[in-house]
Amino acid sequence: MQIDFWILAFSAVTVVVTIWMGFWAAKKARTASDFFVAGRSVSVGWNASAISGEYLSAASFMGIAGMVMSSGYDALWYPVCYACGYLFLLLFIAGPLRRFGAYTIPDFAEGRFDSPLFRKIAVVFVLFIGFFYTMPQMKGAGTTLAYIFPGLPYWAGVVLVGAVITLNVALGGMKGITLVQAFQYWMKMFAISVPIFVLMAVYGHYGKQLEVNQSSPTVVPAVRALPEVMAQGDTNSAVELRKSLPEKAPADSTWLSPFGPLTTKAAKAAGITGDAAKPYSLLYTYSLIIALICGTAGLPHILVRFYTNPDGVAAKRTTMWVMILIGIFYVFPPVFGVLGRNLLPELYTGVGAKGTDKIVLELPRLLNEQYAPLGSILSGITCAGAFAAFMSTFSGLLVSMTGALAHDVYGRMWKPKSTPEQRMRMFKVASVLIGVVSILLGSLVEPLEINFMVGQAFAIAAASYFPLLFMSVWWRGMTMKGAAVGMLTGGLCALVAVTLTNLSNLALDKGPMGRLFAGFAPLNDFWAQHPLLRILCEQPAIWTVSLAILLMLGVSRLTRREVPGDVRKKMLVLHAPETLGLKQEYIQEHSAPH
């Protein structure tokens, strides 16, 4: 295969524009307060687009389509819960946190309990969640570059993209400002919707494509229809273009129905099939829902933007628009998965970067068969969207992780007396350090699905930050010790559980990763004997979130005497309407004695 000019052109333009905009933005917004405070004058429409732009990562753009193609119905929970998690954030956390005026979760942890120590504990999870979130972005980068430059190994793409963005962040570009992020939302929206409308116009709409999959196995498989229909010259394009599925593809009935390959994997490995496997699937589904819904509220980079509104009413209206914008977006990726199953089933046999995760990039190219350069142009557009997705998310994560490392770990813990110049230098060193670790981790995860890995980052956030925020906002009796014990135990349990799952999955790989992780192969025999444990490790949210909340309740009760003395004032700031002006009062009182 040769390098396609159109695809290369669109991708190159995206990269150049993104980097240029980053530097242009960095020049405009020099300080953190520029970003936060000046941003408060941002209008609802711009801000809603910016929040949505920041939220849609490689998982949303490429991963969902790939997972719907590989696993069918069950994968639909991902886009739905990514969007619905936002509702939970709105209902319980967004309003109070905005009133409190903490920009990040560690800020909140310190302010709520007046404890710099707790800030140091809380900041650790910025790094944990951040690394789990960067791995899938790196896979997106490796997959896209391997598609644009056929023959380029996966790891080379990861190194290239990782190095470019790391350098960019270290040099001071890529500060998230509203205009850039808003632009990126509309770019991703355009890149996912326009190709899909053209594809549906040519090959048949969403429902028609789905109809080809027969839920009942007794019906003659639609696959057989291919030669007959072709012979009859039927113009029904949906049936005409259904290609025969390779053996590796899940059968129609399991793919189309709930409790399919994704959720029954563990039970199947244990030899449990049919109706006996369904309770396992149900448990898997519920645990996944909890992870995604609670996890959204605990993602380190999401909350910041609630402050970039002039007032609470505008913040709420912004959230409404965010839900509409991301909701509309999330309808499209599954369509790629459905069309991909019918039109490009070859991808089922591919592994890693050549597998279903690249369906969004490759599918539009089919149009070249009939309308020559159109397919390449549309494929170039989806590649550009993918670049926008993983570049913006990776740089956003890199900025917040570097900030945590340089500001909190170095500036507050290691060398509290360091000068601003030393800290600036440390920021650069830290960004390179984190960039290198991300690249290393990213080049290991080729065999894992993008969307699956993002789900894991959500599971860790759900078990650590979500209980912390939820309980601290609504329960007066919470103590710092209770919060710390619950957050650490829940978060670390989730971290260990998903890491074990990943190690055992990597051991199954037929490529170099399988050899590298061969030591973990016995874990798979263990899973086969204990399917329940496997599910609880793969989707740990159902027990880790409960564990974290129970520990917070229990330990806080035991250390009841340590409830902060001014808890009522704190709660008042969290809950009283902003127009009463209590926040200013609180800040003045606190800063007066110094």
Binding site: Y73, L76, W77, P79, V80, C81, A83, C84, L87, F88, L90, L91, F92, G95, H205, Y206, G207, K208, Q209, L210, E211, S215, S216, L256, S257, P258, F259, K278, L282, T285, Y286, I289, I293, G312, V313, K316, R317, T319, M320, M323, I324, G327, I328, Y330, V331, P334, W474, R568, K569, M571, L572, H575, A576, P577, E578, T579, L580, L582
Partner: protein, 108 residues
């Protein structure tokens, strides 16, 4: 005397004010969350107990696919629209109540 004034429900620094404020907010949030959880936790149950019904075809989609892949988003929009309207109204009520009490105190 000081304490008696402080304990009035409309005094923003009183425990009673905070309790009523948090209770009202939490009630609204929980109502909306329950409506949402009913849908999101109910769908897997429907898939579990009524698989045939959920496999009914609508415009080519199975019912379950249609609900999850498309129908969910508008449902969430309706819930959040309701929540946002109610919570803005709630805040306005609180502010009005506090300023009414303040006006009364000034008169006395």
């Amino acid at each position: 005397m000081q304490t008696r004034v402080r304990e009035k429900a409309a005094d923003v620094h009183s425990a009673a004010f905070l309790r009523s404020l948090m209770r009202k907010q939490l009630k609204l949030s929980i109502t909306c969350a329950l409506a949402f959880l009913l849908v999101v936790l109910g769908l897997p149950l429907a898939n579990y107990f009524a698989p045939e019904l959920m496999a009914t075809r609508i415009l080519g989609f199975t019912l379950s696919w249609f609900l999850l892949g498309i129908g969910f988003f508008p449902a969430v929009w309706i819930i959040s629209f309701y929540f946002i309207r109610r919570s803005i109204a709630l805040e306005e009520e609180e502010v009005a109540e506090v300023s009414r009490e303040k006006a009364k105190e000034v008169k006395q």
